[in-house]
Amino acid sequence: MVIAPLATFVIAVSSVRTRRGSVNTAMLGALVTLAATLLVGWGLAKRTTGFTASYVYLTANVGLNGPIAFQNFEVDIVLHADHLAVVALAVVELCLIGVLGWHRIAGRNEPGPARFQALISALLFGCVGTLLSTDLAELFTFWALAGGATYLMLAHRWGDEAAARSGRIALVLPFLTDLFLLCGIAVLYSRYGQQNLSLLVPALHTTAGWTVRQIVVASVLLFVGVAGRMALWPLHSWLTGTATTAPPAASAIAAAVWPVVGVTVLYRLLPIFVNSNADTMRWFVIACGISAVLAGLYSLVSMEPRKALILAGAGVTAVGAAITIHGFQYRGFTFAVAGLACVYAAAPARAAGALAASNIATAMRTEDMRQMGDAWRRMRSSATVLLGVAIALAVSAAGALAIGVDSRTRFGITLGEAVFVVAVAAMRVFLVASSGPLHRRRAFDPDRVRDAPRASLGWPYWLVLASLVLFAASLVPPLLTFLDNGKHATATAAAYALWVAIAVAGLAAAALPIGSNKVGSLRASSWLSLLPERLESAGQNVLGRYVVNPAVSIVERTERLVPAADAAVGRISHLSGRYAVAALHSGDVGVLVMMAVLLSLLVALLSPGVLR
């Protein structure tokens, strides 16, 4: 499972030059990895424990005394394929294969095909490693590798200045949150001397000198680290900022793969969070709930279809994360894994949404939804995919909510709102793109709008279908049992019906304003979008005025000051040297004066109160 994508990467980098060859190599690597994953999954079907392979990567003896835990620093490559990892990997690989299939035809004009496909293999390698890791240092290594590959994919169009500029956001924000993850791991290591999760978790409360504060700090750092890569609101801008400038395949992969990887890692880290305190867990749940609602609302006011879908997807991810963390709040309940199933179900739909929206934006030659329309007639396939995506995103959380959340609690109401808003937001994209007239613009003839090449159209369909199948599976307790080997209570039919009804209500609610007055509703969205834009702009101004500009100014002044200062010191030395020489030439008096000065300096320095 690990070697296949790595070998594909090496082959792609070293010997593949043509576009077709590189696509086939990457696809082969993904298929072989999927086959290996399914094989392992088959092997796990009748086992309760996973398969483990362990290799020593680094063993450093760093001390001969002190506590034993700190005498050695070990990073072991422990690959542990359990049920959860296998399912997560299968979802990741399905998304990759679907996007690769689409990109093979629709991404023909992308520059540097060999590089791009090699990066996809590198990303798959990183994801496989991350999902199979139980050692935190190893996990971070693979995580950072996958993160690096993601950045390079999102910034693939280097020649385009806009792409390069937005690519920097995709570098900085996740890199910063990755550093939070690293710092969290470092804090834990510095206190416990353990990186292996299976050894670390039992030691959290049994190690002498442990404090709740340490675990809280580590938990917050780890949570921010994972949330950044999951692109939860407000850490989503690395995905939305590159949605229009990155290759569509890169954007789709990043939007689909990282939530799956992130939520799985979050699930693995939750035993650490649980050991902090109840307040911390509660705040994490509240943060995810707020993130879910606000992501949906942001999506509602977004005027770009790909950004809107990414934000709607971020809302679903936040709902899943909230349910997962909520599940860990109560010992004995086992519905945490249902949150994962929700995120897994939404992932292929997110990839399909990005591809379909990209098809439509490219064909209609606009990124503004106000200028879109009539896709149902002119681009039926892509529009149908958008409809499927809206349904999949809306209902994907229904199973998890029915099992894990009481609809009468404040938490339930918040997540209900989030699901409703996400459904409205996702359906809005479909309705706006599909309905209404497509107006003629300068240098744009609506009659020339065509859907993407036929061979590429099937892949988004399959992704939507996979999403719906995963959603159906999330309603069935045996899948949840397969994921975590726990016993799961079945929710009542009424609970399922309620949450599906909320999603359907959201889908229907979107139709009302757009059906009655599409232009007016879009104008309202556009007007409302000014508020977050202004807030964002104000935030950037504050950051620029009080942090960036002063820092740059200080550095620039220092850049000028340091050479000026050392040049001045040099001149003074030169002058003093000349005076000394002149004094020497002037005879005994000069020498005596100089010696007197030096002697007095020496005495002054050695006198009590200066050195002692």
Binding site: V56, Y57, L58, T59, A60, N61, V62, G63, L64, N65, G66, P67, I68, A69, F70, Q71, F73, A137, T141, F142, L145, G148, Y151, A155, W158, G159, E161, A164, G167, R168, L171, V172, F175, L176, L179, L182, C183, I185, A186, V187, Y189, S190, R191, Y192, G193, T206, T207, A208, G209, A551, V552, V555, T558, E559, V562, P563, A565, D566, G570, L611
Partner: protein, 536 residues
């Protein structure tokens, strides 16, 4: 003779804790193995210096002599490394001769864990610098003689175990380097040379004051590190000495605000000299901090630790912003080369066994990464005939080899996985969070800024739209590819296999960070912060 060596190679069965039996163990039982590493290049520099070279007829021969001298030194030190025994808390390959008994100075050489790693770095850099200097056409004899002298001085400062000898080698390294820059540097070579002399001279003065302070405070009987660094000194004196050592280290490594020489030297020195300065010569700053301050004055080190951590953080942040604002790509690379030094300093400030181990590995990895980023941008600017980042654009298609090497250099400075700097940074951060969490977090934030700077630089120079008005460009030559490839290869090698690829039939890893044991074993205080926090 060869048969004799082979026979000895086959028949040696010396018992040792780790490794148990090493092929080639004690092949060099010579008591002068470290002296050979120092004086071999000096002798060859003399030979080159007196070799008649009418109208440059023997230029190639001189280059070959320099190359094979360094190769031989590397081979000898490689064998020394292979014989090195990890778990001995004492110096190895020790040489101790009385030199100036009146003042207690002795010719005392020896290596412990960090020492052997630094010596290997120095030897490897020696070869790389010669390869990087193959383009030298004028006054070849003088150039390579001075390069070998520099090499000898750096090795001498690493292996010196007497403070008097340390100061001599430390200060002596400045002279040939300044002459090399003055004689073969770029348009601003005079400013670069004088800045180097000024800053390194100031550092030498600080080191002399610190050594004098230690000498006086310990009874003025000996300069031997074994004696003076183990003698008790008052905490206040340790702080004063520590401050002097910090100034000395900060001028070399370099750390903010004593980094004034970096920009001129890295952008105007010949590439071969840049390689030596950026990798081994500048790492001497951290090495002295480690050897004298951390190991010798632990109280002073503890008191100064927050200051050093703060300076490390400021250095990394400053370097990133300055690189981001630079229009000259060699200036940008020079600023980026400051980053690994900041990480090394953070590890030393944290004073935990793991952070110090990370720092020791960072001496190697950071040295390689700094040398690679500076020399690769120097090569790019040579090949592109301009240093202006605004004029350079879209070079990747026209110089693919250099593009790959540039990307690797950027990743090496950042410390991404599979690069040696990643392992070093990881160990440093993991160790630093125990005692210097704020400094560690600030350095991490600085690395995020560095990532932006690297991305902007690479995007602008390599992957932007091609500039039709830019001068013609060409890819790297064979020798340039070789020396840059060696630097990148070393980073990747230690990054992918940090425990070291095993020599067939042995358990001795190359570049095993565990060699730092000797250092930590002598400082029980370093492990103290952990006491009571975990169950032994």
């Amino acid at each position: 003779m060869t048969a004799g060596i082979l026979h000895a190679f086959a028949s040696q069965t010396f018992p040792s804790p780790t490794p148990s039996t090493v092929p080639g163990a004690n092949i060099f039982t010579s008591a002068f193995i470290l002296s050979i590493g120092i004086w071999g290049p000096v002798v060859m520099a003399f030979v080159i210096g007196v070799l008649p070279n009418p109208r440059g007829r023997y230029d190639t021969l001189i280059k070959q002599i320099a190359f094979f001298t360094n190769l031989m030194v590397l081979f000898i030190l490689f064998v020394a490394y292979n014989q090195f025994q990890n778990f001995l808390p004492s110096l190895q390959y020790e040489e101790n001769r009385q030199w100036l008994p009146a003042i207690g100075a002795s010719y005392h050489l020896g290596v412990d864990g960090p020492g052997i790693l630094m010596v290997m770095l120095s030897a490897l850099v020696g070869i790389i610098s010669v390869l990087a200097s193959t383009g030298i056409r004028t006054r070849v004899r003088s150039y390579f003689a001075l390069l070998l002298l520099t090499q000898a001085c750096v090795t001498g400062a690493i292996v010196a175990h007497d403070l008097f000898v340390l100061v001599l080698f430390w200060s002596a390294a400045t002279v040939p380097l300044a002459l090399l820059i003055l004689g073969w540097g770029g348009p601003r070579r005079e400013a670069a040379a004088w800045r180097l002399v000024g800053y390194w001279g100031a550092g030498t003065v600080a080191l002399v004051l610190a050594v004098a302070g230690i000498y006086v405070a310990t009874g003025a009987t000996s300069f031997d590190m074994e004696v003076v660094l183990k003698a008790p000194i008052g905490a206040r004196a340790e702080v004063i000495i520590g401050l002097a050592l910090l100034i000395a280290g900060a001028t070399r490594l370099p750390l903010f605000p004593l980094h004034g020489w970096v920009r001129d030297v890295y952008s105007d020195a010949p590439i071969g000299v840049v390689v030596v300065v950026a990798s081994s010569a500048s790492r001497l700053g951290a090495y002295v901090l480690l050897r004298v301050l951390v190991a010798g004055e632990p109280d002073g080190a503890k008191l100064l630790a927050p200051l050093i951590a703060g300076i490390a953080a400021v250095t990394v942040v400053y370097a990133a912003i300055a690189a981001l604002r630079s229009v000259d790509i060699r200036h940008a690379a020079a600023n980026l080369a400051l980053v690994p030094g900041g990480v090394t300093a953070l590890g030393l400030a944290a004073l935990t066994p793991l952070s110090i181990t990370g720092s020791v590995l960072s001496l190697f990895a950071g040295g390689m990464a700094s040398a690679l980023i500076v020399s690769v941008f120097a090569t790019v600017s040579d090949r592109a005939q301009t240093r202006n980042a605004l004029a350079l654009s879209g070079l990747a298609a026209r110089m693919p080899k250099l593009a790959w090497l540039t990307v690797l250099a950027g990743l090496g400075v950042l410390g991404v996985p599979v690069m040696a700097s990643f392992t070093a940074n990881e160990m440093t951060f993991f160790g630093a969070f125990r005692t210097q969490p704020v400094g560690a977090f600030a350095v991490a934030a600085g690395l995020a800024l560095t990532a932006i700077a690297v991305a902007v630089l690479i995007q602008r120079v390599l992957f932007g739209p091609p500039n039709p008005d830019a001068p013609a460009v060409s890819d790297s030559s064979l020798s340039e590819t070789w020396f840059l490839g060696l630097l990148a290869g070393a980073l990747l090698w230690v990054g992918i296999v940090p425990g070291g690829p095993k020599i067939p039939g042995t358990d001795t890893p190359l570049f095993d960070p565990g060699v730092v044991n000797q250092m930590v074993a002598n400082i029980p205080e370093i492990a103290a912060p952990y006491s009571g926090t975990t169950t032994p």
